[in-house]
């Protein structure tokens, strides 16, 4: 719960968190090392100085760190913990659902564990989706379209194998499809994070919610256009939000575009923990105002009411979280853990 300076309690759902192991012991090859190094560079590049972590802690942090940073020191009420396997880079995977489920078991009220699958696995992917539903009762999945798999260096949401998987998700009630669309990296010729495939998939699967992480940046224009056409496309603020510290005016331009095109109901807060911790992000976000000239040009405002939606109400709707019931269930839980 985030308590505003005026004393109002704001329910916070952190839509994008990780519990990873990027340690040297787990790295399978140079790519594993370069992957976590890249994350660490994001962390050091965009965090306030007083929030910086040691590299070794960043590579592998404990379940206690996770709990404390999100729920005790941090304002999160509920965190959605995403799974990203990267088994070509890490011996035991980067943050597999097994690893996430283990920590979620300790604090079942706090975590929503999302699964992940790779459509290129064909039949095995379909079996795996059944397994995810039966074993973990997942409500959502994280898709990483740039993940390598054997000879393939990426895939598209519109691939026939992917459609088979989404059909099954729809049938099983796995409704929230988080899609990583972020900074340009691999592969060679095709941009694996191009957002146009979202347009088709969202049209063809109206029963699913498509949450585009990082708002498709640096393809904000394409993303906004698509999200305006499709009622079931949402934008996750992970990676965009930390700019609120280093380049606040720039963040104003981004959030103004999102509010103009998507509206306040379709933007979701996410810290991308452990790249960033939620406390400073939420504090700065609550205190933030879009610069006047930008707000006037786009005709939008970031009111307290809108901030409350972005910080928790929107995600609560997607994940069927009953806020009153959840608040009651959580009362006092931080203290019981802190006392351990």
């Amino acid at each position: 719960m985030f308590r505003t300076p005026e004393g109002k309690d704001i329910f916070v759902v952190d839509g994008h968190t990780h519990f990873w192991d990027g340690s040297a012991e787990n790295q399978k090859n140079i790519h594993g090392k370069q992957f976590i190094d890249c994350f660490y560079a994001y962390h050091t590049g965009l965090s306030p100085k007083e929030q910086l972590w040691e590299k070794s802690k960043f590579e592998k942090y404990s379940a206690d760190d996770l709990y404390r940073d999100l729920f005790i020191d941090g304002p999160d009420d509920v965190a959605i913990v995403q799974s990203t396997y990267l088994k070509d880079f890490y011996k035991n995977g980067f943050n597999t659902i097994e690893r996430n489920a283990e920590v979620a078991k300790l604090y079942p009220e706090r975590f929503i564990v999302n699964g992940a699958f790779d459509p290129r696995d064909g039949e095995k992917a379909l079996e795996y989706i059944h397994f995810l539903k039966e074993t973990y009762d997942v409500k959502g999945v994280k898709m990483y379209t740039a993940e390598w798999n054997g000879a393939s260096k990426g895939w598209k949401l519109t691939d026939p194998d992917a459609y088979k998987c989404f059909e099954l998700c729809d049938k099983l009630g796995i409704r929230n499809i988080h899609v990583h669309k972020g900074p340009t990296i691999l592969p060679l010729s095709k941009d694996a994070f191009d957002v146009h495939d979202v347009d088709h998939a969202a049209t063809d699967f109206q029963g699913l919610n498509w949450i585009i992480e990082h708002c498709g940046l640096p393809r904000l224009d394409d993303f906004c256009w698509i999200a305006t056409q499709e009622t079931n496309v949402y934008g996750g603020l992970a990676v965009a939000l930390p700019f609120i510290h280093s380049r606040p005016r720039y963040f104003g331009e981004v959030i103004a575009e999102l509010l103009f095109w998507l509206g306040p109901e379709k933007i979701l807060f996410g810290s991308d923990y452990a790249i960033w911790t939620p406390r400073w992000l939420v504090e700065k976000f609550w205190a933030y105002q879009i610069p006047d000239d930008i707000a006037a040009e786009r005709g939008v405002q970031l009111t307290d009411e809108i901030k409350e939606k972005i910080l928790g109400l929107n995600a609560a709707r997607l994940y069927d979280i009953d806020i009153d019931a959840k608040t009651k269930a959580l009362a006092g839980s931080a203290f019981s853990i802190a006392a351990e």
């Binding site: 090859n29 140079i30 790519h31 090392k33 370069q34 992957f35 190094d37 890249c38 660490y40 560079a41 994001y42 050091t44 590049g45 965009l46 396997y85 088994k87 070509d88 597999t96 699958f117 790779d118 696995d121 095995k124 992917a125 079996e127 795996y128 059944h130 397994f131 074993t135 390598w148 798999n149 054997g150 000879a151 260096k153 900074p183 340009t184 990296i185 691999l186 060679l188 010729s189 941009d191 940046l217 640096p218 393809r219 904000l220 224009d221 906004c224 965009a240 700019f243 280093s246 380049r247 720039y250 331009e253 981004v254 575009e257 040009e297 786009r298």
Partner: protein, 264 residues
């Protein structure tokens, strides 16, 4: 041929390198800190060490930049031999070997690039640079108090005498001019300076909407730029070679046993 010439040649090398842009960001590679070392040796040859912000940077962007470096070095007044080396990139080896042999991108990545069309990519980047530069100048002129009509009626002679306080508009003014002339080489001197990428005039009533469209182009480019700067600052500088581990090419050429799909 003496060591005395080295400092002036050194300066010439850097001057040429500042003309090479990161195509995705439209910012000089020297300002981004990608050129780690540029040396003129005692025999006059040139050595360049180049390092991008991450191991994962798109290889086609990397190639465009290195190709730009190659072209910049070809223009040096003493026509030296040169060596350009890309460090710490997942395709460093392939790119370095190919550059040395004077190969094109398609040749280097013949097995990997498939339908790679660098010509189209270059064109996209030229368009983005045009828009980003234009936006900065337009906003600068508006801030200066010019009306939209005055701005849109401006021709090149008027443009050339306009002066800005130091800042983004001042920085982009000559860059927009260059982009405009490159895009429309046959334009007349009294044609309007501010037109769309397709060469259409912008009606004064539409400037606001036009600027909103340009803004998003810049927001995207700045996002990359800010990330690249941040990443570059914190990039670990050691070079890693792990013996016996599969390289990227091994993965791509499917010489590594496919991992088992996760099973129930």
């Amino acid at each position: 041929m003496g060591a005395a010439r080295i400092p002036s040649r050194q300066a010439e090398v850097w001057r040429r390198l500042t003309e090479v842009n990161d195509p995705e960001l439209d910012e000089p590679i020297t300002e981004m800190g990608f050129v780690e070392r540029a040396e003129v040796t005692s025999d006059g040859s040139v050595e360049i060490d180049f390092r991008l912000p991450t191991y994962w940077c798109s290889p086609n962007f990397a190639f465009l930049m290195l190709d730009g470096v190659r072209k910049a070095l070809d223009q040096l007044s003493w026509a030296p031999a040169y060596r350009v080396k890309l460090h710490d990139h997942m395709f460093a080896e392939e790119v370095n070997r190919g550059m040395e042999a004077g190969k094109t991108f398609a040749d280097i990545f013949v097995e990997l690039a498939e339908d790679q069309d660098l010509g189209a990519l270059r064109e996209t980047f030229r368009m983005k640079a045009f828009k980003r530069r234009q936006e900065a100048v337009l906003r600068g002129l508006r801030q200066h108090g010019l009306t939209d009509r005055e701005i849109l009626d401006m021709d090149l002679p008027a443009y050339d005498v306009a002066r800005f306080e130091p800042g983004e508009a001042a920085k982009q003014k000559p860059r927009y001019r260059a982009a405009l002339l490159e895009r429309f080489p046959d334009r007349q001197a009294d044609d309007p300076v501010f037109v769309t990428w397709d060469g259409q005039r912008i009606p004064p009533g539409a400037l606001g909407a036009h600027l909103a469209e340009l803004r998003v182009v810049r927001v995207n480019m700045e996002f990359n730029g800010a990330l690249c700067r941040g990443l570059k600052q914190t990039r670990y500088k050691e070079l890693d070679v792990i013996e016996g581990e599969p390289t990227l090419v091994d993965f791509i050429m499917d010489r590594v046993p496919a991992r088992a799909a996760p099973t129930a």
